[in-house]
C-alpha cells in the first residue's frame, strides 16, 4: 500500500506541472490547485483508514533504489505521528489554497504551482525514510517558499527572503555534511536501518538545521521579517507546517539516531527552549501588530514543543505531537484571519484597529474561538497538549515545568490582548464601518481548521494514543526512545 504515500507526494507535484505547463486562466489554475488540495485530503483520509494503529511501526511504505552504490533509496512511509503531521499538512494547505484563491493572487499559475510544490515537499519531509531523500524534500521546501515570499510578499520582502534563505541554508548545509558523514560511515542512508551514532558533531549538524527552521532561541532572527512580509497564507504555512518539519526532524533523526548526544546536550537545548518560551511570550505581549503577536507566539510555542520532545518520555512526546498539530491549526487559522483583517483595514497595527466585533459576528466568533483555544483554556486541545508536555518535562526537572506554567499565563495575556485590540475597544481609525464580516470563502478556509481544533478538544487521545504505538520490532521509534533514556 506504499502507493498511497507516494501518491500523496506525486498528486500535488503532478498538479503543479499541470498548472505550469498549460495556459490556464487564473480561475482554472486556482480550481485545479483546489481540486488537488481536496484530493490530498481524500488520500490522507484513505491512509487513515488503512493505517493499523494497533500494529504501530512504519506502515504504508514503499522503497525503490535511487542510486545503489552509496545505498540511497527512495523510501517513504509513515509512523503514527507522521500520519498526523501529514494530516495537518494537507488540511492547512487546503485552507491556504482556498484563501489564496479567494484573495486572487496575481500570476495565478506560478503562484498555485508553487503552493502545490510546497505541499509535495512538506508531505515528503514527513514521510521520507531515507536521509538523503529527507534532505532533498527539506531543501525542496525552501525553493517555493523563497519565491512565494519574494514575489508576493510585502514591501520588505527582499530583505526578509535573503535573511530567511541564508539562515536556513546555513543550517541545512551543516545537516548535509552530517548526512554524508553519517550515511557513509553507516553504509546506508536508510532511516529505518537500526544504527545509532554517538558523535556529537554529527548530532550538532542536524540540530543546527532543525534549530534554525523551528526556530529555537537564539536562531530566530529571520522569523519576524519572514512572518510579517509573507502573504498571509504563506505565513500560515510557514508557522503552521514548516516549523513542524524541524520538530519532526528532532524526533525522527536527532533523538532516535543519537541517544547519547541527546543526553549530553539535553540540558542546553531545554534551557534554550525555556528562554525562547519566555522571551517569545514577552515579545508577543509587546508586539505592535497582529502578525508580530502570532510570530512571536510561534517562537514561544515551538519552545514549549521542544520541551516535550527533549523530555524524551512518553508523556512529553505524545504531548509534543498533539501540540504540534494544535499549534499548526491555531497559527494557520490566526494568520489567515490576520490576512482577512489586514485586507479590510489595510494594516495590522493595533493602534489603528479595534471594534471589529460590532456588526461582524462571524469574524468575532471565529477569532475568539481560535484565540481561546490558543491560550490553552482547560478543556481545549491545546490545554491537553500543554498539560502532557509539562507533565513530561516535570519528570526531567520541576524547574522546566515552572517555566512552562509561567509561559501559559503569558500566553493568556498576549492572546487576550490580541483579541481585545482587534475585536473590542472603540473602532480604530483604520476600521471603516463598511468593512464586511467574514466572506463565505474565508469561512470555508478557516472554519475547518477551527472544527479540527474543536474535534481534538473533544478527543485529544485520537492523537496522543495513536502516535507512538508499541511495536515489538526493534526498528520502532518509541522503542528507541526507551534506549535513549
Amino acid at each position: 500500500m506504499g502507493w498511497l504515500t507516494t501518491s500523496l507526494i506525486l498528486l500535488p507535484l503532478g498538479a503543479a506541472l499541470l498548472v505550469w505547463l498549460f495556459p490556464w486562466d487564473p480561475f482554472t489554475a486556482g480550481a485545479i490547485a483546489l481540486l488537488a488540495a481536496f484530493g490530498e485530503v481524500g488520500l490522507w483520509i484513505e491512509c487513515l483508514f488503512r493505517f493499523n494503529f494497533d500494529k504501530g511501526g512504519l506502515q504504508l511504505d514503499q522503497r525503490t533504489s535511487w542510486f545503489s552504490d552509496l545505498h540511497v533509496s527512495y523510501h517513504v512511509g509513515m509512523y503514527g505521528f507522521s500520519l498526523w503531521l501529514v494530516g495537518l499538512t494537507v488540511v492547512v494547505q487546503a485552507a491556504a489554497i482556498i484563501y489564496a484563491f479567494w484573495a486572487g493572487r496575481t500570476g495565478a499559475r506560478a503562484y498555485f504551482g508553487l503552493m502545490l510544490l510546497l505541499t509535495a515537499a512538506i508531505v515528503g519531509v514527513f514521510t521520507a525514510q531515507d536521509l538523503l531523500l529527507f534532505y532533498v524534500f527539506w531543501e525542496a521546501m525552501l525553493i517555493p517558499l523563497y519565491v512565494l515570499i519574494g514575489v508576493w510578499g510585502g514591501p520588505g520582502r527582499l530583505g526578509a527572503t535573503i535573511k530567511f534563505f541564508i539562515y536556513t541554508m546555513a543550517g541545512s548545509l551543516l545537516m548535509l555534511a552530517s548526512i554524508i558523514v553519517l550515511g557513509l560511515s553507516q553504509g546506508t542512508f536508510d532511516l529505518t536501518a537500526t544504527y545509532q551514532s554517538s558523535s556529537d558533531w554529527i548530532f550538532l549538524g542536524f540540530v543546527a538545521a532543525f534549530a534554525v527552521k523551528a526556530p529555537l532561541f537564539p536562531l530566530h532572527g529571520w522569523l519576524p521579517d519572514a512572518y510579517r512580509e509573507s502573504p498571509a497564507e504563506v505565513s500560515a504555512v510557514l508557522s503552521g507546517l514548516v516549523s513542524k518539519a524541524a520538530i519532526y526532524g528532532f524526533i525522527r533523526i536527532a533523538i532516535t539516531k543519537f541517544p547519547e548526544p541527546t543526553k549530553d546536550f539535553r540540558t542546553v537545548i531545554l534551557v534554550l527552549a525555556a528562554i525562547g518560551l519566555i522571551y517569545g511570550s514577552l515579545l508577543a505581549f509587546r508586539a505592535p501588530d497582529i502578525r508580530g503577536v502570532i510570530a512571536y507566539s510561534s517562537l514561544a510555542q515551538l519552545g514549549l514543543i521542544t520541551f516535550g520532545v527533549f523530555a524524551v518520555n512518553d508523556l512529553g512526546l505524545n504531548g509534543a505531537v498533539l501540540q504540534m498539530v494544535n499549534h499548526g491549526l491555531i497559527s494557520a487559522a490566526l494568520f489567515l484571519l490576520a490576512g482577512g483583517i489586514e485586507r479590510r483595514a489595510t494594516t495590522g497595527d493595533f493602534s489603528r484597529l479595534g471594534g471589529f466585533a460590532r456588526g461582524r459576528p462571524l469574524l468575532a466568533t471565529v477569532l475568539m474561538t481560535t484565540g481561546i483555544i490558543g491560550l490553552a483554556v482547560p478543556g481545549s486541545s491545546a490545554f491537553a497538549g500543554e498539560f502532557e508536555i509539562l507533565a513530561g518535562v516535570f519528570s526531567v526537572d520541576w524547574g522546566y515545568a515552572v517555566v512552562g506554567a509561567v509561559a501559559i499565563v503569558l500566553a493568556a495575556m498576549y492572546m487576550l490582548r490580541l483579541i481585545s485590540a482587534v475585536l473590542h475597544q472603540s473602532p480604530g481609525p483604520a476600521v471603516s464601518p463598511q468593512a464586511l464580516d467574514l466572506r463565505p470563502a474565508e469561512l470555508s478556509a478557516v472554519v475547518p481548521l477551527v472544527a479540527c481544533l474543536l474535534a481534538l478538544s473533544v478527543w485529544p487521545a485520537a492523537i496522543t494514543q495513536r502516535s507512538f504505538t508499541n511495536d515489538q520490532g526493534s526498528k520502532d521509534v518509541s522503542t528507541q526512545f526507551e534506549a535513549a533514556k
Partner: protein, 495 residues
C-alpha cells in the same frame, strides 16, 4: 622506409567527423554565397558534433577493455569516450545557442573553428603520452583563441582573444616545460611507462620529477581556470561571444579536469601523497576566490565566470580524493555541470540579443515574467549551480563531498559546504533580479527598454535551453544509470 604504426580508425572517428565538419564549413566560408554561409556552417557543425557524439557512444559501448592504439600514443577507453560524449553534447548545444546570433561576418569560420575545437578536445581526452597531450591542448586552445576574438563588432572580444592567447600560451609553455622535466627524470613519455619508470628507478620524491609534476598541474590548472591560475577567466568569459563562453565553461573545463585525473592517476600514482594535497589546496583556493569574488559582480557573465572558477574547485575535490568514488563523482558531475553552464550562458545570450547590451543584474529585472521559459530555466540553472534539488548539481555535489569523506578529509567536506552556503547569495541574486524586482522599481535608464516590441523567436536557442534543462533535471532522477556509466568509465583508470 618509415614503418607506420597500425591506425585504429574507429578510435579516431569522433575527431575525424569533427575535422570533416570543420573542413566543410571552411569551404563554405570561401565558396558559397554570403547568405547561406551561416546555415551551411551550422549544419556542418551540427552534423559533425552529432556524428562524433554517436561514435563516442559506440566507442564507449565497444571498448570494455582499455586499448592502446596508434603506437601507444592514444588510449581507446570508456573514460575518454565518456568525456568525448560530454564535449560533443556541449558542442551540439552550443551550435543551437549560437545560431540565432547577430554575427554574420566570418560566421562559417565560426562553426569551423567550433568543430575544430571539439575535435581537439576529443583528441586531448584520449591522449596517452606527453606529446599527444600537448598536441591536443594546443589544437583546441588555438581554435578557442580565435573563437574568443572572432566577433569584431563586439566590444572586448578582441581583447578577450588576446588575453586568452597570451595567458593560455604561458600556461601551455609551463605544461610543456613540465613535460620536458618529467621526460628528463624518467626517460619516458607514455603515461603508464612513466609510472613504471618511477617505480623501477625509485624516483619517488625525485626533485626533477616533482618539479615536472607541479608544472603539469599548473598548466592544466590554467585550462581548468582553477585559482590561482584563474586571472584570465573573468575578462575572457566576459569579452568572448556568449555562446563561446558557454562552450569554454562546459567543454574546456571538462577536458582539463578529465585529463588531470587521467594523467595523475596513470602516470603519477606513486606521487599521490603530493598531488592529492596540492589539488586539495588548489580546490580550496578556487572555492574561496571564485565564491567571494562572485559576490561583488554586477555583470552576469563575470559572475558566472567566477562561479565557474568555484566549480573548478568543487570538481577538483573528487580528483584530490584519489579514489574510484571520486572518479565516478567527477564524471557524473561533469554531465549536469556542462548542461548548467551552456544553459545559463544561453539565457544570457538571449537577453543580450534583446537588449543589445551586456547583461547585468539590473537589466535582468522582470525577465522572468516576460520570458517564462527562459526565466524558469535560468532559475533551475541557478538552483543547479547552488546544488539544490531537484537538479543534477545537487547529486554531483553530494558525490563529490562523499568522495572527500571516503578519503578521510572531512575538513574538505566542511570547506565545500561553507563555499556552497556563500555561493547561494549570488545565485539567488539572479533569481531576485528576474522575478522579484519589477523594472520600474529600479528606475532603469535608457539601457533597458527593448527596442521595437518582442524580439524574434529564437527557436534554436530555446531548444538548447530546453535540452539543457532536461539534462539538469534528468540527471537528478536518473542517477543510477548515469553513475553506472561513470563507474564503468572510471574503471578504465588504474584504481
Amino acid at each position: 622506409m618509415i614503418k607506420t604504426p597500425h591506425v585504429d580508425w574507429f578510435a579516431l572517428a569522433p575527431e575525424l567527423f569533427l575535422l570533416g565538419a570543420a573542413g566543410v564549413a571552411l569551404m563554405a566560408a570561401v565558396l558559397l554565397p554570403r547568405r547561406i554561409r551561416r546555415d551551411v556552417g551550422a549544419l556542418a557543425a551540427t552534423a559533425g558534433f552529432t556524428g562524433a557524439f554517436v561514435y563516442a557512444i559506440l566507442i564507449y559501448v565497444h571498448t570494455p577493455e582499455v586499448q592502446s592504439v596508434i603506437a601507444d600514443s592514444v588510449r581507446r577507453d570508456r573514460f575518454g569516450a565518456l568525456a568525448q560524449v560530454i564535449v560533443c553534447g556541449a558542442g551540439l548545444l552550443t551550435v543551437g545557442v549560437a545560431f540565432g546570433g547577430r554575427m554574420r561576418e566570418h560566421i562559417a569560420e565560426f562553426y569551423a573553428l567550433l568543430a575544430a575545437a571539439g575535435a581537439g578536445m576529443c583528441f586531448f581526452v584520449t591522449a596517452n603520452n606527453l606529446m599527444t597531450l600537448f598536441l591536443g591542448l594546443e589544437w583546441f586552445s588555438i581554435s578557442l583563441y580565435i573563437l574568443c576574438a572572432i566577433d569584431r563588432e563586439l566590444e572586448g572580444s578582441l581583447e578577450a582573444g588576446l588575453k586568452y592567447l597570451i595567458i593560455g600560451g604561458f600556461g601551455s609553455a609551463v605544461l610543456l616545460f613540465g613535460s620536458a622535466l618529467v621526460y628528463g627524470a624518467t626517460g619516458e613519455i607514455a603515461f603508464n611507462k612513466i609510472a613504471d619508470a618511477i617505480s623501477a628507478q625509485h624516483l619517488t620524491g625525485d626533485a626533477l620529477l616533482v618539479a615536472g609534476l607541479a608544472m603539469l598541474i599548473v598548466g592544466l590548472g590554467f585550462k581548468a581556470s582553477a585559482a590561482p591560475f584563474h586571472q584570465w577567466t573573468p575578462d575572457v568569459y566576459e569579452g568572448a561571444p556568449t555562446p563561446v563562453t558557454g562552450f569554454m565553461a562546459a567543454a574546456t573545463k571538462t577536458v582539463a579536469l578529465v585529463v588531470t585525473l587521467r594523467i595523475l592517476r596513470t602516470a603519477f600514482p606513486q606521487e599521490a601523497h603530493l598531488w592529492t594535497i596540492a589539488l586539495a589546496v588548489i580546490a580550496c583556493a578556487s572555492l574561496a576566490i571564485g565564491n567571494l569574488a562572485a559576490l561583488a559582480q554586477r555583470s552576469v557573465k563575470r559572475m558566472l565566470a567566477y562561479s565557474s572558477i568555484s566549480h573548478a574547485g568543487f570538481m577538483l575535490i573528487p580528483i584530490a580524493s584519489d579514489n574510484a568514488l571520486g572518479a565516478r563523482a567527477l564524471l557524473y558531475y561533469l554531465i549536469p555541470y556542462s548542461a548548467l553552464s551552456i544553459g545559463a550562458f544561453a539565457v544570457v545570450a538571449a537577453r543580450e540579443r534583446e537588449l543589445a547590451a551586456p547583461v547585468t543584474l539590473d537589466n535582468l529585472a522582470g525577465m522572468g515574467w516576460e520570458r517564462p521559459l527562459l526565466g524558469v530555466a535560468m532559475c533551475t540553472f541557478m538552483f543547479g549551480f547552488a546544488g539544490l534539488p531537484p537538479t543534477g548539481g545537487f547529486v554531483g555535489k553530494f558525490y563529490a563531498f562523499s568522495a572527500a569523506y571516503e578519503h578521510g578529509w572531512t575538513w574538505l567536506v566542511i570547506v565545500g559546504v561553507v563555499a556552497t552556503a556563500v555561493s547561494l547569495y549570488y545565485y539567488l541574486a539572479v533569481i531576485r533580479a528576474m522575478y522579484m524586482r519589477p523594472a520600474t522599481e529600479l528606475q532603469l535608464g535608457a539601457a533597458a527598454p527593448v527596442a521595437g516590441g518582442a524580439p524574434p523567436r529564437d527557436a534554436m536557442l530555446q531548444a538548447s535551453v530546453v535540452l539543457s534543462l532536461a539534462v539538469v533535471v534528468g540527471s537528478f532522477i536518473a542517477v543510477e544509470p548515469l553513475i553506472h556509466v561513470a563507474k564503468l568509465a572510471a574503471e578504465s583508470l588504474p584504481f
